[in-house]
């Protein structure tokens, strides 16, 4: 649904995006993580058709986005810094978007008054708090009935209850209408809930993208104690990282928990525990270990 091919963007001498080839399947929720300045926002702005690439392709549903209204009608974009017209209230903005988005759903707009009841639709949006401005943006965005929803740091400024409600709304759209969502965030924990695909960016490059299921099934932490100190691990087990404290070996192994149990169980260990890894740990090991300072990328 969303695809970029070797997308490169230069601002004068600075390369903001370097041959980014991103692929998001229809109906999936894709999480984009990376440190400040990695190029997440620039990438999203290309997908929204707000920036023109230096080279490469940006496709939504197989069509180029830039200056293409037919495609843009199907995209809703909530940027990090939300833009509104001077003096405009949520209701004014609704009237404006209704003119642009042919699928704008008035019924939904009214129904959602209940969810966003703290936002006064008649009040100047610029006078609202940051969190309420975000709520107003979400309210309008979901009413556009988009096929593609682009969210840049979407829940920044929202309280925990509102976060949940907003994500609930989006998940409903994902199930019901197969909406494709691309979301950037610093909060891995939060992305773990909602995403089924993840990409990691650093210094303008997309260094890694994979499905969450894949990530979770392929690495496992094993704690094991052997009877004999010099016990060798069986052939063919890929160990990404090992630590030893006393007799306890802690291994990060590339296989499923069941497989680890079976293969290491054969060595009749005194203790054998498999522990699932958090998404953060998975990234750290997948991306080359603690040593390479990957930790900093994920914070």
């Amino acid at each position: 649904m969303i695809e970029t091919k070797e997308l490169t963007k230069r601002f004068d001498a600075f390369t903001a995006l370097d041959k980014v080839s991103l692929h998001v399947k229809p109906g999936s929720v894709y999480g984009l993580v990376g440190p400040n300045g990695a190029g997440k926002t620039t990438l999203i702005r290309h997908l929204a058709g707000a920036l023109r690439q230096t080279s490469g392709e940006v496709l939504i549903g197989g069509e180029p986005v830039f200056e293409n209204n037919a495609v843009k009608e199907r995209i809703a974009f909530i940027p990090d810094d939300i833009f509104y017209f001077m003096q405009a209230s949520t209701r004014d903005m609704m009237a404006f978007y209704r003119g642009i988005y042919p699928r704008f759903n008035m019924e939904r707009y009214h129904a959602l008054k209940d969810v966003f009841k703290t936002v006064d639709e008649k009040r100047n949006i610029r006078r609202l708090s940051k969190g309420m401005q975000k709520q107003s943006a979400f309210w309008l965005a979901v009413c556009m009935m988009p096929d593609v929803l682009l969210l840049d740091e979407p829940v920044d400024g929202l309280d925990p209850i509102m976060r949940r409600q907003v994500w609930g709304l989006i998940m409903e759209d994902v199930v019901e209408r197969g909406t494709t969502v691309l979301v950037s965030s610093h909060n891995l924990r939060e992305l773990e809930d909602v995403c089924d695909y993840m990409g990691v960016m650093d210094e303008g490059k997309l260094i890694f993208q994979r499905s969450v299921t894949d990530l979770q099934e392929n690495l496992v932490k094993v704690q094991v104690v052997f009877e004999k100190e010099d016990t060798q691990l069986p052939e063919g087990i890929e160990v990404l990282h090992r630590e030893k404290s006393g007799r306890i070996h802690t291994l990060i192994v590339r296989c499923s928990p069941q497989e680890a149990q079976e293969r290491l169980g054969g060595l009749s260990p005194i203790l054998l525990d498999t522990i699932p890894l958090s998404l953060e740990e998975i990234f750290i090991y997948e991306l080359g270990g603690v040593e390479r300072g990957i930790k900093d990328i994920l914070l």
Binding site: S28, V29, R163, R164, Q165, W167, G168, L169, M171, E172, V174, V175, E176, R189, E192, D193, V194, C195, D196, V212, T213, Q216, I275, P276, L277, S278
Partner: protein, 127 residues
């Protein structure tokens, strides 16, 4: 109905699975009762629908639930399911017993304790 613990390092689909399994085994969701739809769960918990789908699929494979296309998922009546649960619980019991022996409890005391529990439960059902 389902509570996710964000400090838990288990993947979310596994938490959902364990939660539902507990509800079914304990009878909180009775046999033939309809489970919340994927859509409801995804919306309420704010979780990716694929994650929920995966938990349901695995529960179905394990025989705890069955799915009627177009209608939803239902808790199964299964003898299969109790057999599997039985195995799991026996394994747990084994772990506990081993640990008790390790810290020096006499095997007789362990057996006596188990018997006492059985008698207590039987008395409860008699009343």
């Amino acid at each position: 109905m389902i509570r996710l613990n964000y400090r838990d390092s288990r993947p979310i689909y596994e938490q959902i699975k364990d939660n539902l399994r507990k509800l079914i085994v304990s009878g909180a969701i009775s046999a033939e009762e309809k489970l919340p739809s994927v859509r409801e769960m995804a919306t309420k918990l704010a979780i990716n629908p694929n994650t929920i789908q995966r938990a349901y699929r695995e529960l179905e494979n394990e025989g705890y639930i069955y799915t009627v296309p177009g209608k939803g998922s239902f808790a199964a009546l299964g003898s299969d399911m109790s057999r599997q649960r039985q195995e799991e619980l026996f394994q747990k019991l084994e772990e506990v017993a081993v640990e008790l022996m390790y810290i020096g409890v006499a095997p007789g005391d362990i057996l006596a304790h188990v018997e006492a529990v059985v008698q207590k439960e039987e008395k409860k059902t008699d009343d």
